[in-house]
């Protein structure tokens, strides 16, 4: 009997040892593969400690920090396929306290966000998400936008972030931030918001819009031209809205050529054209229509089975355009009878070489 118990004890011990090591290896591999998840695990750990009440007094403080930075970074990472520039920013929440002096505060020139210990319905997360989205994720994007356009973009992106990462606080955000700005639905902000939603439903066009704003944010302009740039942004929204609402087979204007923002959308789709001339038709179109207009960004869109043709078109412009990004998206398209079709689309972004950061006054 004793021998049997020893054998069982040994088996359990060896098993526990192996499973302990296996668990450790699994954790290390998972951390290595998903460094962003570590913050969320930390948040979970501190949340568990919070259940012990005042025994772990600082647990809530650490929970708020890791939950906020973990979820914001997770959101940015998830959007990286649609909007790669978002993922280039990693947010870190840093607590300040007694070590701060008036001199260092004035010198550092940074906002200090207040996070509450009485965190009713996790409002800390809502307040933090608003500040981080505007100040970090959309920092360059918002630079040249009109106030209402900018506010609508922030409201739209924060709503997306909360819906994805923390749906339980969406109602607080709606109540405290969105509804007061929404008015009766006829405000400029409400109209912009509705337009962004239409662009986003097309899956492709909201990221295109954000990306173009990001490109604009990378330029500096000589002279006071904010009004002109804001007018271009309004026209860009209208242009993309029209493109997003077009039906399959519609022939419409797919070029947007203004002074500071020049975009061309090239749809590589017609199978008869592909069968007859391969990539040549689109190479010719870009050479004759987009290159002479100094189009800065070209979005090539087509079914994944046309990837080879799209890549061939890109290769033809190797000297003048840089392949900035390529990805496959699920998008919604309207058929000619108005029904919604869900399709996969391969998208390549070409960005012209040698764009001047400084745009001198005309």
């Amino acid at each position: 009997m004793d021998e049997a118990l020893k054998a069982i004890g040994l088996a359990i011990g060896v098993g526990a040892g192996i499973s302990g090591w296996a668990l450790l290896v699994y954790v290390v591999i998972t951390i290595f593969k998903n460094p962003d998840k570590v913050d969320l695990w930390r948040a979970l750990f501190y949340r568990m400690l919070m259940a012990f009440g005042s025994m772990f007094k600082s647990a809530h403080k650490q929970y708020v920090r890791y939950d906020l930075q973990g979820r914001v970074n997770e959101f940015a990472r998830a959007l990286s396929k649609e909007a790669p520039y978002l993922a280039t920013t990693k947010v870190k929440v840093e607590y300040v306290g007694t070590e701060t002096t008036r001199e260092s505060f004035l010198k550092d020139d940074e906002v200090i966000l207040r996070l509450r210990s009485n965190d009713r319905n996790e409002r800390n997360f809502v307040h933090g998400a608003c500040l981080i989205t505007a100040a970090c994720l959309l920092h360059k994007t918002r630079r040249y936008m009109a106030k209402t356009q900018r506010e609508a973009v922030e409201l739209y992106v924060v709503t997306k972030l909360l819906q994805r990462e923390k749906p339980s606080v969406v109602n607080i955000y709606l109540e405290e931030y969105l509804h007061p700005k929404w008015g009766d639905g006829n405000t400029k902000i409400a109209k912009h918001y509705a337009a962004y939603d239409r662009l986003d439903k097309g899956a492709l066009f909201f990221p295109v819009f954000l990306r173009e704003l990001d490109f604009l944010g990378n330029k500096v302009f000589g002279g006071p031209r904010k009004g002109q740039i804001q007018a271009e942004i309004s026209a860009l929204i209208e242009f993309l809205d029209k493109v997003a609402q077009r039906k399959v087979g519609d022939e419409g204007d797919l070029e947007f050529n203004r002074e500071y923002c020049r975009v061309g959308i090239v749809i590589v789709g017609r199978s008869a054209k592909i069968a007859a001339s391969g990539a040549k038709a689109w190479v010719k179109y870009i050479r004759n229509n987009l290159e002479p207009h100094h189009t800065e960004t070209i979005y090539l869109v087509g079914a994944p089975e046309n990837k080879g043709v799209i890549d061939e078109v890109c290769d033809a412009f190797d000297g003048t355009y840089e392949r900035y990004h390529s990805s496959i998206h699920d998008i919604e398209m309207k058929a000619s009878d108005g029904t919604l079709l869900k399709r996969k689309r391969y998208i390549v972004i070409l960005r012209v070489h040698g764009i001047n950061v400084y745009q001198s006054a005309a």
Binding site: R65, K90, E94, G97, T98, D109, L113, R142, R143, E151
Partner: protein, 80 residues
């Protein structure tokens, strides 16, 4: 692509009084003389959203959405 690290500074309530003292505004805060830089409402324990430096002074922003937007716009203009 290497990610750019952006830090967001925050103060937790447990350290707020010490921070206000360190910034030399605690007296004004307790005497209800500290005001939101955007709407001029008195800053209280309930409505303080953020602190920020501006023209060599310590400024506060309350938690009204318009004031938060004002703060973000101000910081954005400054960065530009």
């Amino acid at each position: 692509m290497e990610a750019e690290r952006t830090s967001v500074k925050a103060v937790y309530d447990d350290d707020l009084v010490a921070l206000l003292r360190a910034l030399d505004v605690y007296g004004d805060f307790t005497a209800h003389r500290l005001r939101c830089a955007f709407c001029r409402d008195t800053i209280t324990w309930d409505n303080l959203y953020a602190l920020y430096p501006d023209s060599g002074a310590v400024k506060c922003c309350c938690s009204k959405p318009d004031c938060v937007e004002g703060l973000l716009a101000k910081r954005s203009e400054k960065a530009h």
